[in-house]
């Protein structure tokens, strides 16, 4: 039984390899809820919040690389927000200042909640996720990492090292519906990325399916409607159609937080609002 504050990625990987029952601990904001309520009794823990290879972010070859232990508070920083605005906006809506000072990107990915707020921006940006173990390094897309509600494909000896996203030429939006402004788990979210260079629109939806989904029909349809040489706010019927196609991509359920009908409605409203904003 031990708690080790790891000092390098190599140390994390070898501790996991030596004892695959070891739990990784980053910000603790999902882990400790389970421990405090006796839903989890860890036998040994590796603390990864200070591992240099996992902290901070950097620009690299036209992409931004985010360490898995990067916190929400760090994602909110204006310098980071300038490169990945949708993720910064999503981070800004998470929990409370206290939660944002501790909670990390890697924890949100590993927890794989359908309501994880970083997931729609990462889906919209076609993020690539780098996973390490003593056996080597592999890179996967979000849909290969998160395969169901709270289900990830990490092996017991693996750790998420980093996430890379492209720096996109164009505005981005993240919108979230919940019962209040602070400390709220999403009822529905949308992340929209406008890519002027590639003349494309990416739209991802959160909390309205077992895993984050891309509204590909809405994306393809709107890319053909926008006048890319002189983009302007679309007419009302275009916005409405975009909202309908977005809602059709969702597969929501009724639960204690909301109903499927309301979630579909919220997706339609947020999708049209996000589109109007990025084109204004």
């Amino acid at each position: 039984m031990s708690v080790r504050v790891a000092e390098s990625l190599e140390e994390v990987c070898s501790l996991l390899a030596a004892d695959p029952a070891t739990s990784l601990l980053a910000g603790g904001t999902d882990f400790m809820v389970e421990v405090n309520y006796n839903h989890r009794r860890p036998s040994s823990v590796v603390v990864i919040d200070r591992v240099p290879e996992l902290t901070g972010w950097r620009r690299h070859n036209g992409r931004v690389e985010l360490g898995a232990a990067m916190t929400y508070a760090e994602m909110e920083h204006p310098l980071f927000a300038a490169y990945v605005p949708a993720l910064a906006q999503a981070a800004r809506t998470v929990g409370s200042p206290q939660i944002r000072n501790a909670g990390t990107l890697g924890g949100n990915l590993a927890t794989a909640s359908p309501a994880g707020d970083t997931l729609p921006p990462l889906a919209a940006l076609d993020a690539r996720i780098t996973i390490c173990s003593v056996r080597g390094t592999r890179e996967v897309g979000l849909d290969e990492l998160i395969v169901g509600p709270k289900q990830n494909t990490l092996a017991p000896d693996e750790v998420i090292r980093s996430v890379t996203v492209p720096v996109v030429d164009g505005p981005q939006e993240f919108l979230k519906v919940g019962t209040r402004n602070a400390m709220v788990i999403s009822v529905a979210t949308v992340a929209l990325v406008l890519d002027r260079a590639r003349r494309s629109v990416h739209l991802a939806l959160g909390s309205v399916a077992p895993v984050p989904v891309r509204a590909t029909e809405a994306e393809e349809w709107i890319a053909g409607v926008v006048d890319w040489d002189a983009p302007e706010v679309p007419l009302d019927d275009v916005l409405t159609r975009f909202g309908e196609l977005a809602a059709a991509a969702s597969v929501p359920i009724d639960d204690h937080r909301s109903t499927a009908d309301y979630r579909r409605h919220a997706v339609a409203v947020m999708a049209r609002r996000a589109l109007a904003r990025v084109l204004s």
């Binding site: 039984m1 601990l25 809820v33 421990v35 309520y37």
Partner: protein, 170 residues
């Protein structure tokens, strides 16, 4: 949670935390104990409160390396090497800080359960943002639930400290 959470026969941990400027030994601890539990039950620092044990209420707010966090969401043994400040560590020798005095003067303390967490959050806000707007004050305390005051007096107390500090430094 105040019951002993270790199970007979389970190995225990021994580590040192840095709290309010001193090194504090923690012995015979169960691995899964939160910082909140250790502060209250092992280190005799009951100022930090426990109302939810799940990060929702902010009554357990402490500073870790200068940032407000929920001590119930921090594994105590993972806080080794961090500089922890609790509400007890904000003032000198039992004197009230200006933030604490303002809470008293403005009637921002009713049952008082949320107060230590709010004081830590407010103290931090004013240290990084000496002249916060009302919106910034609301944002800074958005992770602290108060069931008594309705927040108006809390916000007035924090705004009052900012004004007084600005006036006294000219």
């Amino acid at each position: 949670m105040s019951e002993d959470r270790s199970v007979a026969g389970e190995a225990t941990l021994h580590y040192t935390l840095h709290v309010n400027g001193s090194d504090r030994d923690v012995a015979d601890a169960w691995l899964g104990e939160s910082l909140l539990y250790v502060l209250r039950e092992r280190l005799g620092l009951p100022g930090t409160k426990n109302a939810c044990d799940q990060g929702e209420c902010g009554s357990c707010t402490v500073l870790a390396d200068g940032l407000p966090v929920c001590s119930c969401m921090m594994l105590a043994a993972a806080a080794v090497g961090r500089d922890i400040v609790t509400v007890e560590g904000l003032g000198d020798d039992g004197e009230l800080t200006d933030v604490q005095q303002a809470f008293v003067d403005h009637g921002a303390v009713q049952c008082g359960f949320c107060t230590p967490g709010l004081i830590v959050a407010a103290d931090h806000l004013l240290s990084v943002n000496p002249e916060p707007t009302e919106l910034e004050i609301r944002e800074a305390i958005s992770g602290n639930l108060c069931r008594c005051t309705g927040y108006g007096r809390v916000i007035a107390a924090i705004a009052g400290v900012a004004e007084e500090r600005a006036a006294s430094t000219g």
